[in-house]
């Protein structure tokens, strides 16, 4: 696998994640899109770790996964609470903080 191929894959996954986050209205799907973006970066980090013969990239990837896991915990909790109180999962309807 060449460098160019890795970069292309990573960029494509990131764009898919971004598009999913902007387009979808279900917060769970939006969450998954965020994970997709994070993982595209992880993929890049791990690949370059192997190309450059350095462990730095893998360490960063591990840290990102940890943070993502923590974030998911918090995020899911928020989503659950919103669902319990509003019985509505459309993010466009959740605009209490409108200016």
């Amino acid at each position: 696998m060449g460098e160019q191929f890795v970069l292309l894959i990573s960029a494509s996954i990131f764009c898919v994640g971004t598009a999913g986050f902007v387009i979808r209205k279900n917060p769970l799907i939006m969450f998954m899109s965020v994970e997709l973006m994070l993982n595209s970066v992880n993929f890049l980090l791990v690949s370059y770790s192997s190309f450059l013969n350095s462990l730095d990239g893998q360490i960063f990837a591990l840290m990102i996964m940890t943070v993502a896991a923590a974030e998911v915990v918090v995020g899911l909790a928020i989503i659950l609470t919103i669902f319990r109180t509003r019985h509505d999962m459309d993010v466009d309807h959740i605009d209490v903080l409108k200016g």
Partner: protein, 622 residues
């Protein structure tokens, strides 16, 4: 020597503080006792100081400054809490505390049963304290402090019956008029400090003759500015309109403040600053001129008024005019002597009038009085003595003091025949109007059917008798006053004798009494004929030369119009409009910006993506 003299000021101050703090919790009797006691103690201390002063040889009696406390010391400005003890200040102490004490005692009876009895005595004590500060001041700063404080006390006392609109308005008028004078005094003090570098009387008066020639601009400026204060306080033209209105206050207040003490402050000021005034002979002429014009002007207004207190108030203005003329032509001790006798007989007249008003339940119109000589024998006798003294009847105190001034108005260096003629004319008017009041009030039959007049209680009559004694015999003090005050003025005043002029002046006085008697006793029907014959003149006098109306037209209404204009155009359409518009615009703009915060997560995300892509493109391609 005079280490305890400051106690003179302390007692009334303590009385004021005590009565203000505990006034509502103590009985009427105790409040009266405190009010009178403090002034009595003050009078006693004045006598002690006087005796100390008399032990000194005359030339050593001047210039004793007792410094109590160094208050301000900033650069060349030094202000000490100090009192000046010299014959002039002790002379004023004696009048203020002596007459003040008598009037306090009278007030115990007069204000009996007033719901705010202790407040009245608190104010009276404040006034006595303020007046003592004024005359004890050793520099121009504390002179102005006292000057303003008496104005405040006068304001509080004129408006004492605060539920009475006319009293409140009169108090306000008096205060505004006096503040005009205060401003003049303050500017005068600035000029003095600028030219002498000090405010202390002794230093200024010592330096002035060496620094300025007579009629130097600075001297004229200082003396004229001080004069604004003196004229306002002493109700001289053209700042006189507050004094008649001030009669809305309780009668003891009129007697104490608006006859015996405060209004004479202007005369005291000129006497105190005589060193400066002698360096400004033009100002002296001006003082004498205004004084004598005020005398005849006020005297003529008093001829036709029907309010017993107003007549006496105009008479006060008129007598103050005499005093101003006396100090204006340089016979200071005669002015001060007339100040003293005037304090006696004018306080007496006011208190006797108060006694009449008291017994008629507040009636002040002399047309509704009459025949009181049988019902109120003591009030009648004392009023008669006061009236005789005011008219300058021979051997009463007023005779000695007024006759001396009238003679000097011709014989003194700065006197002339015009001053003399007006002075004599005024003397005739004085005798006429006061006996007009006398005949209206005490002779004939009572013209107020429902009233039951009665003699006033002893506590009011005794002060009347004391003052009557002083008004009768005070004239004997004349030579003593001249020699006592001579060290202050640097010379013994010269008395002249001219039997022709004396006879004419005396005839004017007695003629006035006789004319009043003739007109109001013998042929009453003539009075109406005379009134009709002189209708225009009568109207002019009755409306006080329309001075109030002129002031209203020239000053009050334009000021009000400017106020209304500024309120509508300046305030509402100018300031308010601008501020409102700025606020509205800010609100509009911020509302537009706040639309960006839609609360929609996806919109935020899209914005973020677009932003990041833009930055990325920028970084890559630029």
């Amino acid at each position: 020597m005079f280490a305890s003299s400051w106690l003179i000021l302390l007692f009334p101050l303590l009385g004021f503080i005590g009565l203000s703090w505990f006034g509502s919790r103590i009985s009427e009797k105790l409040a009266g006792l405190v009010g009178c006691g403090t002034v009595g103690a003050s009078f006693f201390m004045t006598l002690v100081t006087l005796s100390n002063l008399l032990f000194l040889p005359p030339e050593e009696r001047v210039g004793h400054v007792q410094t109590l406390y160094q208050w301000v010391s900033a650069g060349s400005l030094k202000l000490d809490l100090a009192i000046l003890v010299d014959p002039l200040s002790v002379f004023m102490f004696l009048i203020v505390t002596g007459v003040g004490f008598v009037i306090h005692v009278y007030s115990v009876g007069y204000m009996h049963d007033d719901p705010e009895y202790s407040r009245f005595f608190a104010y009276l004590n404040l006034f006595i304290f303020s007046m003592l500060v004024l005359v004890a001041a050793a520099d121009f700063f504390f002179l102005i402090v006292g000057w303003a404080l008496v104005g405040l006390a006068s304001y509080l006392l004129i408006g004492f019956w605060r539920e009475k609109t006319s009293a409140v308005l009169a108090a306000r008028k008096a205060f505004v008029m006096n503040v005009i004078g205060d401003v003049g005094m303050v500017i005068a003090a600035f000029v003095i400090f600028e030219s002498f570098g000090t405010l202390s009387f002794i230093d200024v008066f010592a330096a002035a003759p060496g620094m300025f020639r007579p009629n130097d601009d600075t001297m004229l400026l200082i003396t004229l500015l001080l004069l604004v204060g003196a004229f306002a306080k002493s109700a001289q033209l053209p700042l006189h309109t507050w004094l008649p209105d001030a009669m809305e206050g309780p009668t003891p207040v009129s007697a104490l403040i608006h006859a015996a003490t405060m209004v004479t402050a202007g005369v005291y000021l000129i006497a105190r600053c005589h060193v400066l005034y002698e360096l400004a002979p033009y100002t002296m002429y001006f003082i004498a001129g205004v004084g004598i014009i005020t005398a005849v002007f006020a005297g003529s207004m008093a001829l036709v008024q029907y309010d017993i207190k107003r007549v006496i108030a105009y008479s006060t203005m008129s007598q103050l005019g005499y005093m101003f003329m006396a100090v204006g032509i340089g016979v200071y001790s005669m002015g001060m002597f007339h100040l003293m006798t005037h304090a006696f007989f004018k306080a007496l007249l006011f208190l006797a009038a108060g006694s009449v008003i008291h017994s008629l339940d507040g009636e002040q119109d002399i047309r509704k009085m009459g025949g009181l000589q049988n019902v109120m024998p003591l009030t009648h006798a004392t009023f008669l003595i006061g009236a005789l003294a005011l008219a300058g009847f021979p051997l009463t105190s007023g005779y000695f003091s007024k006759e001396a001034i009238i003679l000097s108005s011709y014989h003194a260096e700065m006197g002339n025949i015009v001053f003399w003629a007006i002075a004599v004319l005024t003397a005739g008017m004085t005798a006429f109007y006061i006996f007009r009041v006398y005949f209206y009030t005490f002779v004939g039959g009572l013209r107020s059917p429902g009233a039951h007049p009665h003699e006033s209680p002893g506590i009011m009559v005794i002060p009347l008798v004391v003052l009557a004694g002083l008004a009768l015999l005070g004239g004997l003090l004349g030579p003593w006053v001249d020699s006592f005050l001579a060290p202050v003025f640097g010379r013994v005043v010269e008395h002249h004798h001219n039997s022709v002029l004396e006879a004419i002046a005396l005839t004017a006085g007695i003629g006035g009494i006789a004319a009043a008697g003739l007109l109001y006793m013998v042929s009453k029907d003539r009075m109406d004929l005379l009134k009709e014959a002189m209708a225009p003149l009568y109207d002019l006098l009755f409306h006080k030369y329309y001075v109030d109306e002129i002031y209203d037209f020239l000053i009050v209404r334009p000021t009000k119009a400017i106020g209304v204009f500024m309120e509508q155009k300046g305030e509402r359409e100018g300031i308010d409009f601008t501020v409102d518009q700025v606020g509205l615009k800010v609100k509009e703009v911020s509302h537009g910006i706040s639309l960006w915060q839609s609360g929609k997560v996806r919109a935020y995300a899209l914005n973020m993506v677009v932003g990041m892509v833009t930055i990325l493109l920028f970084v890559v391609f630029m």
